[in-house]
Symmetry: C2
Amino acid sequence: MPDVSNIGATPPTNHVQREVTTIDRFRQAMRELAGGVAVVTVGEGPDRTGFTSTSVESLSVEPPRLLLCVNESSSSWKQLQKRPYFGVNILRADHQVLADQFAGRGGLQGEERYRGAKWTTLSSNGAAILEDALAGADCFVEEILLRHGHAIVIGQVRSILLHANGQPLLYWQGAYREIARAQAK
Amino acid sequence: MPDVSNIGATPPTNHVQREVTTIDRFRQAMRELAGGVAVVTVGEGPDRTGFTSTSVESLSVEPPRLLLCVNESSSSWKQLQKRPYFGVNILRADHQVLADQFAGRGGLQGEERYRGAKWTTLSSNGAAILEDALAGADCFVEEILLRHGHAIVIGQVRSILLHANGQPLLYWQGAYREIARAQAK
């Protein structure tokens, strides 16, 4: 039997308890949503930083626009306000160490997160693009919408880097995953 | 060597050609972004419809908010304007037929897309939730932002349905996929 938490149907006996339950259950539900892993790069030189994201998505193909969310408490958000450029780098299955670095594991901050990987740029004022990413997109910030402590960023795609083959890095239920080699039935 | 398409660096010899190239390359890059597959349900009774999405994401955990994009040319967008409720259903690996139905394959429209699956609701005016989804979220539309032919929808999560176990359905490079059984190194 499914485990149903119905928030709205009956009057709460304890509103705070109920809210906490909803938040916890929402967090659990979102752990079930698998995602490809990307590293988002922002800033320049010693000010550059970035973060690991599973929330990059295509908003529109014509014109080419990406959408992603950035926590307003992050260092990346500060840099993005200074320089309205960012790079989206879709990671390969063997990029787990890099994903951890950009997630801040081990306490890595800013420029330290870039170590051990090769970076390039696709335009004169573009953010860093990972040379061996599965795909990379050099973006200009078109619009930012602030909602619930997060910046919803719409990016205008300027340049694309593509590699013909490779397996993607996935994240699901709090762990890195890979795609099954044999295609699903 | 990576295949780099640098859109902004040199003056275009043929602007239209260049634009077409960017769009095509952006499409290819986005095919590399793996995603969990969800069915989004909208409307009620004979007017109900919905679509298959790989673009659902968590915007905020506290408060619980989801974000997704809906094409403005879709029947789902019409229904969502009439009834500001929707369901997000994270699919299992064995839900490929349902994913195809909600993607409109075989020409299925509206209510026809729901056939062959068991549905429930989590609140009195909620959208349909798939009984055996990996996880389901009953949402109320908090805000809609229209950009580039798409509605960016922020959903307030009201109720959650959770199943303890199961494998997710993935989409990558234009095909359904599954997660590798053995966890990545």
